[in-house]
């Protein structure tokens, strides 16, 4: 029983250390609305994702000091986004080749992983990689949009996602 109590106390401490309430999001964030494509619809390439954004200043990287109210977008196709507070460089954290190249990861590198950034409210996709291990002809893809501040770090844990279907290209 003592062990159990100690375990609970330990867990409470560990969890307490992890929590910073101000950064946590408990209610839905509706500042972003997808305009196209229609959710779960069958689309063709090239595909343009469009959305509207309110209460957020869309500015280029390094345009002003970092804040939670201004920045640009990062879009992840069929991938989970980076952690809150991290920049996109964390995508290449375990890539020693990238680590030895100044400027890496750049847009081309990130595109290999289907990660894109934009300072507009749309993104044109000329290609989407088929889902690994899925041989279905019709495949459901998911795009997740997050906010980056002007220093390139993810703002909070907010995200918006949309699913769309694509027919697998035939060889």
């Amino acid at each position: 029983m003592k062990l159990k109590v100690a375990g609970f106390a330990l867990a409470a401490l560990a969890l307490g250390g992890c929590v910073n309430l101000s950064n946590l999001q408990f209610r839905g964030d509706h500042r972003l609305h997808f305009v196209a494509p229609r959710a779960d619809s069958l689309v063709r390439l090239p595909l343009t994702l469009r959305w509207t954004m309110s209460d957020f200043d869309v500015v280029p990287p390094n345009a002003q000091p970092p804040s939670a109210h201004a920045g640009y977008f990062a879009i992840f196709i069929d991938r989970y986004p980076v952690r809150p507070g991290q920049s996109l460089t964390s995508v290449a954290a375990n890539d020693p080749i990238c680590a030895h190249h100044p400027g890496c990861p750049d847009a081309a590198y990130l595109a290999q992983y289907q990660i894109y950034t934009t300072t507009t409210t749309s993104l044109r996709l000329d290609a989407v990689q088929p889902l690994a291990g899925n041989n279905d002809r019709r495949q459901t893809h998911r795009a997740i949009v997050i906010l980056l501040d002007t220093s390139g770090r993810r703002i909070g844990e907010v995200f918006w996602s949309i699913s769309f279907d694509l027919n697998r290209p035939t060889i």
């Binding site: 867990a11 969890l15 992890c18 946590l24 999001q25 209610r27 844990e157």
Partner: protein, 736 residues
């Protein structure tokens, strides 16, 4: 029953036997088996016994919230991954670990609930535990925190299976138990409807993120846990085994006392688990739980793919289907309770047969549903099947908990959960292969294979449950009888084996062996090779556990006690043949014999020196390997164990085998001295002359049964028995 102070042990045994027969039928009625199917309404039963509905409601609500975290996690995992930037692989890994924690949690919880009235407190604590963990999930910000939360949640929610059922069994009288367990099952299944509704409500109209959902659910869990705060543990066997004991006490005109002298022989955790698994009904039904766990894989996972692939149901459609699936199970459980109760009251065996048939019918319906060309027919067939399968759990739970003493119920509940989990693992592998080859529809049809096996297993327990229930009754009655007789001044035998059966695998070698040794007695146990003499010694010393019967030492039940604990009680065995460690020296052998007294090194050293005094030859060869000793020296070394451990009961197997008569004479003299010092001795011998020259009391065994029990001189007149021994001895050229 009248008892006389200082009554002979065999008189005591006869008294016990007659009382047992008189009480058994009454005891079955106390356990709810009345031989007729009539049942009063649940409300009337509760009113008659002055029992409130509160425990089943409180525990049932805990049973609902128990599953909130798991459900919410499975639905919200993608959102958690996106928010925290954790790959789905990470979430899947921690979920698997949490599942593992949930799987093993029942065992330590059973251990915790073993002593004292702790189950209600543990229910409340674990309920608050998972409420806090669900709540905290809404605040996690890293994979480590998710892991911690899920592990603790898994440990607390997993504990429910070892606590809830046994606590309900002791909270309600037997004539309400099927209904109570069914109601609890209905509560549990209703979480399959409530949890999706709550998540949909909180995430939809209330517009909360996954964090908000967990906090909302956590608060509900907390409220429910606080609602259960008035739960109290009524004590083990309040309505059954304690009632049986009270009957015995009334028969003796005694009152309940708390001075049970069983502290030193009460079974430990693993001893209880082993004892539970030795009961044939439990083995069958627990195997049935494994099959149910195996079936849960297609019913919980592949059915979703089946609905998608075969019927193109959207996520919402599948959600509705699962809601319907859970809802019909809730209804079925509530309706079935009374029917199950009637069956159990009339004939528990019939209930188990019915359970087997129900499972068989259920899986056939799934198979047919999987092949159905019409959607609504498939829905109907799956619904009826869901009803059938849902009713199995309370029945099977009741079966395994009815054939064991109340104190062991948390253990059996834990074992059923674990076996079910193991079945799930096997099912995952089995059905993954089926799915690859035949698709999700194929898995729906494939359930018929393990399902049929499970149905046969469960149905076959119908042939065992009555016997096992009677055995449990007999154990309880015998225990209380002896308690009362001891209190009234009767002297129990030092050792009493009653109706001992023992098997090596499928080969039974002991058949209802009764064997008694009095304090300070020297008993000879005779018989030809393969008669079972050595086996009965193993059963007494704890190396072998009987499949039936009891072993009592000074009135205390030690049937399922580990061998090392019997050693501490004062039972020592010198095995037949070369009872030494050949690769150790003589001195090392002696020290190893004193393993149990090793903490007192001075005493051990003195005992070893005493052995060297008694056996000067061993002193001379103290540094020689035991394997280099002669046969006689090795037996001396073996016999030294008695001088080191100073047992109350010494079991000697084949002391004279292969030794020269002069050595045998020396050793027998020592046995006589050990016995004269107050140690009771059981001497297994093939040499009739040797055995009967030493012992006044002899047993003769043949083909696993006791054929003679009486004075040694009387055995000498039984030529019909002894001829076989003599003939065998002559054939072997031994000394007879």
């Amino acid at each position: 029953m009248s008892t006389t102070k200082g009554a002979r042990p065999d008189t005591v045994v006869e008294e016990i036997q007659s009382t047992r027969l008189a009480l058994r039928e009454r005891a079955r009625r106390q356990l709810g088996v009345v031989g007729e199917s009539g049942t009063s309404p649940l409300r009337a039963v509760l009113r008659d016994h002055s029992v409130a509905i509160y425990p089943v409601v409180a525990i049932g609500l805990l049973g609902i919230t128990d599953q909130f975290q798991g459900y919410a996690l499975s639905v919200l995992a993608p959102d958690i991954s996106s928010s925290l930037g954790i790959g789905i692989g990470g979430v899947a890994a921690v979920t698997a670990l949490a599942g593992l924690a949930q799987g093993v949690a029942p065992l330590p919880m059973a251990r915790l609930s073993q002593q004292g009235r702790r189950r209600a407190a543990l229910c409340i604590i674990t309920g608050i535990g998972w409420a806090l963990m669900t709540l905290y999930t809404g605040f996690v910000t890293s994979l480590t925190a998710v892991l911690l939360v899920l592990l603790l949640d898994g440990l607390t929610t997993g504990s429910a299976s070892a606590l809830h059922g046994p606590l309900l069994m002791d909270s309600y009288p037997p004539e309400a138990r099927v209904r109570v367990l069914s109601t609890y099952g209905a509560f549990g299944r209703s979480s399959g409807v409530l949890a999706p509704l709550l998540v949909a409500l909180v995430a939809g109209p209330l517009d909360f993120t996954w964090r908000g959902v967990f906090i909302f659910l956590g608060l509900i869990c907390l409220v429910v846990s606080l609602f259960s705060i008035r739960l109290r543990d009524p004590g083990f066997g309040r309505w059954d085994t304690e009632v049986l004991r009270e009957d015995v006490r009334q028969l003796h005109g005694a009152t309940a006392t708390t001075d049970h002298d069983e502290d030193d022989v009460s079974l430990g955790f693993w001893e209880i688990c082993r004892r539970v698994m030795l009961i044939p009904t439990n083995r069958r039904v627990i195997a049935g739980f494994t099959v149910l766990g195996l079936l849960a894989v297609p019913l919980n996972t592949y059915i979703s793919f089946f609905l998608d692939e075969r019927w193109h149901l959207s996520a919402a459609g599948r959600g509705l289907f699962f809601g319907y699936y859970a809802a019909v199970q809730v209804v079925a459980l509530l309706i079935y309770g009374r029917r199950g109760e009637s069956l159990f009251r009339k004939d528990p065996a019939a209930l188990m047969r019915w359970a087997g048939i129900t499972l068989g019918a259920g899986i056939i319906l799934i198979g047919v549903g999987g092949l159905s060309p019409w959607f609504w027919l498939m829905v109907a067939l799956f619904g009826v099947s869901a009803c059938a399968i849902a009713t199995l759990l309370p029945v099977m739970g009741l079966a395994v908990m009815s054939v064991i003493p109340a104190r062991m119920r948390p253990h059996v509940a834990a074992l059923t959960t674990i076996s079910s989990g193991l079945g799930g693992l096997v099912g995952a592998l089995f059905f993954a292969g089926i799915d690859r080859r035949f698709g999700a529809g194929g898995t729906m049809v494939a359930v018929m294979i393990p399902g049929a096996i499970g149905a046969l297993l469960i149905a076959s327990s119908s042939r065992l449950i009555d016997t096992d229930m009677d055995r449990m009754i007999d154990e309880v009655l015998e225990d209380e009888e002896i308690n009362q007789l001891v209190r009234s001044g009767a002297r129990p035998s030092m050792l009493a084996c009653r109706g001992v059966d023992f098997s090596y695998g499928q080969v039974q070698v002991l058949f209802g062996v009764d064997f008694t040794v009095d304090e300070g007695e020297l008993v000879a146990l005779l018989g030809v090779n393969g008669a079972g003499k050595s086996t009965i010694l193993k059963v007494i010393s704890g190396i072998g556990i009987p499949s039936a019967g009891s072993v009592r030492f000074r009135g205390q039940d030690i049937t399922y006690l580990d061998a090392e604990r019997r050693l501490n009680l004062g039972i020592t065995q010198i095995p037949g043949g070369r009872a030494v460690f050949g690769s150790l020296t003589v001195a090392e052998n002696l020290r190893s014999f004193g393993f149990s007294v090793r903490k007192n090194r001075r005493v051990l050293d003195q005992a070893i020196e005493h052995c060297f005094d008694v056996f000067p030859r061993l002193a001379e060869r103290r540094n020689s390997l035991a394997s280099t000793l002669s046969g006689g020296e090795q037996q001396m070394l073996g016999l030294s164990k008695a001088f080191i451990l100073k047992p109350k009961l010494l079991l000697i197997d084949e002391l004279s085998l292969g030794l020269a008569p002069v050595i045998v004479g020396q050793l027998l003299e020592l046995v006589r001295e050990i016995n004269a010092g107050g140690t009771a001795v059981v001497l297994v011998e093939q040499s009739v002359n040797i055995a009967l020259s030493l012992a006044d009391h002899a047993y003769f065994m043949e083909k696993g049964e006791i054929r003679f029990d009486g004075a040694s001189r009387d055995l000498l007149e039984r030529g019909d028995l002894l001829r076989a021994v003599f003939l065998e001895g002559v054939a072997a050229g031994g000394s007879r």
